[in-house]
């Protein structure tokens, strides 16, 4: 499957990955080669086969609604590059999801 430079840019944006000019040049070919390899799955007959998303076969892992201890505010913030008055800080965002 061939992936174009345009698609590479779109995917990088979705993935929040800044790409260098070099990567933008290299990725289309490199990723296309790997995707070509993936395409061999098209020749596998999977009619009537259920997908496996979880190999344990388990279901209904549910926990009782009982509070247990959390991190302290200090612990929560301890690795933050920028913090202020108990909050994490990031540069302004103006668009709502």
């Amino acid at each position: 499957m061939k992936i174009t430079k345009d698609q590479v840019k779109k995917v990088a944006k979705l993935a929040n990955l800044p790409l260098s000019a070099d990567e933008e040049e290299k990725y289309p070919e490199q990723l296309s080669a790997i995707l070509d390899y993936f395409d061999q799955l098209n020749s596998v007959d999977t009619k009537g086969i259920e997908p496996t998303f979880n190999v344990t076969g388990a279901s209904n892992a549910l926990s009782e609604d009982i509070i247990s201890s959390s991190l302290t505010q200090e612990q929560a913030l301890s690795n933050a590059p920028v913090k202020k008055d108990g909050f994490f800080v990031t540069k302004g965002v103006f668009e709502n999801e």
């Binding site: 999977t46 344990t56 892992a61």
Partner: protein, 458 residues
């Protein structure tokens, strides 16, 4: 005094109990050796001089409270976790201490250790060679006697392959046997934490310690592993061993094949019945694995946005970036069905291949054996250029992760002077049988007592 660093875990436990030496003496012996050898081997990213208890090397993707945990990445070079992984809590309760954080391929992506942001680990058997990956430091540390045992993680072979290349024992437990809470995830439906040890008995011990249900891991459903002393403990008479024909075809190095076949002959000599089996979907395993794994990776690494911790995303290494791109693509609108959903169906077929092999109504084997790696350790720098070539070397190990079954690598000889591992695969949740078989083989051979000669630097 005898070199305490040569002792196995079982011997260490017995020695401490019998008062033959103290914990302090034990740790001092290891710390001294680390001081001498780590600068060349680069097995440890961080050494804990104040370690107490039986010293273990912990792969740096497993969170240790207040001890730096980098996952081999520049993004986390200053990250100090505020909590211990569940397995660390369990080990601490058994009197184990963290002597150091082991080097690894960045975010567990790699098969050689060369994707570490902090320099590659060297193979103790030949320091111009790779130790394998991604648990490169863990395997090297055990091989060079820089710890009593180590923990690694295995998503597509990352415990077994470096264990094989470094001549030590590596166990990937069944998926769901050991809690993943606290191990930074690579691919959530494949990852398992497991022991890398000097002997099979050691691996069994560590599995007993770290396994068991956990209220923090929804998929950790299994009972704690307990040694049952069932069949095949001291003898493998009448053991039915399956040898997949697909694992002995093109791509397998002739030298490695010879050693592995000799190991299988040894099993026969010890009383096992050897049968050929077929795992017909083997050729599709790599594609299925990489699609599913990259998809999960692309999502798991989204939390590294530099706000609550870590550096910015442009600091990801090349292989990590590549897999994030592949995974994001495979999940995107229009491609989910052809890639992710399709791969998940192929995963079912691969699992069914094993079910059939183990099914008493069909082939009915007890274990399946084969090589771990198509080659022995290769030269540092030799394979970095083409990612696809690197992916293809995972061919023998990834199927176990796709199916969730347990898999053990035990040393079974040498080729070109470098270690070769024999892989033993078992039924889901049947670690008991593969450990027992591995131990019988190990004790009937001398490979496990060989150690690399570390007197000479490069």
């Amino acid at each position: 005094m005898n070199d305490l660093t040569k002792l196995t875990l079982i011997e260490t436990i017995e020695g401490l109990k019998a008062g033959k030496f103290t914990e302090k003496e034990l740790n001092n012996a290891y710390l001294e050796k680390i001081k001498e050898l780590n600068p060349q081997l680069n097995a440890y990213l961080m050494v804990n001089e104040g370690v107490k208890g039986i010293p273990a090397a912990i792969k740096d993707i497993i969170c240790t409270q207040n001890i730096q945990t980098t996952a081999g990445s520049k993004i986390l070079s200053n990250y100090i976790p505020q909590y211990d992984a569940t397995v660390i809590n369990k080990l601490k309760n058994e009197g184990v201490g963290v002597i150091g954080k082991a080097n690894m391929d960045e975010f567990a992506m790699g098969s050689s250790g060369e994707n570490s942001a902090f320099g590659a680990t060297k193979n103790p058997w030949n320091q111009s060679k790779v130790p394998g990956g991604s648990s490169s430091g863990s395997a090297a540390a055990v091989a060079a006697d820089l710890c009593v045992f180590a923990l690694g993680t295995d998503t597509g072979g990352s415990i077994r392959q470096p264990a094989s290349l470094c001549g030590v024992v590596g166990l990937k437990p069944s998926y769901g046997r050991v809690s993943r809470y606290g191990a930074m995830p690579m691919a959530s439906s494949f990852d398992q934490i497991g022991p890398i040890t000097k002997t099979v008995a050691d691996a069994r011990k560590v599995l007993e310690w770290i396994s068991g249900p956990d209220e923090y891991d929804s998929n950790c459903v299994a009972e704690k592993f307990k040694f049952q002393n069932s069949k095949f403990k001291d003898t493998i008479q009448n053991l039915k061993v399956g040898v997949p024909k697909e694992y002995f075809g093109e791509g397998l190095d002739k030298g490695v094949e010879k050693v592995v076949r000799e190991a299988i002959d040894k099993l026969k000599e010890l009383g096992a019945e050897i049968v050929e089996v077929s795992l017909p979907h083997t050729e599709y395993a790599i594609a299925a694995y990489y699609i599913l794994m990259a998809s999960e990776v692309s999502s798991n690494l989204a939390r590294f946005d530099g706000i609550r911790f870590g550096d910015s995303r442009d600091k990801f290494g090349a292989e990590v970036k590549r897999r994030i791109m592949l995974g994001t693509f495979a999940l995107s609108t229009g491609y989910y069905d052809d890639y992710f959903a399709k791969a998940a169906k192929v995963r079912t077929l691969i699992k069914q291949d094993f079910d059939k092999a183990f099914d008493p109504a069909a082939a009915g084997v007890d274990v399946i054996v084969g090589p771990v790696s198509p080659t022995v350790a290769w030269n540092l720098g030799e394979k970095v250029s083409d990612p696809l070539t690197m992916y293809l070397s995972d061919i023998y190990t990834i199927s176990a992760n796709l199916a969730g079954i347990p898999a053990l690598s035990v040393p079974c000889g040498f080729s070109e002077g470098l270690p070769v591992g024999l892989q033993i695969l078992g039924k889901y949740m049947d670690e008991e049988t593969i450990l027992n078989v591995g131990e019988v083989y190990e004790q009937a051979t001398q490979w496990h007592s060989k150690r690399p000669d570390l007197r000479f630097k490069i």
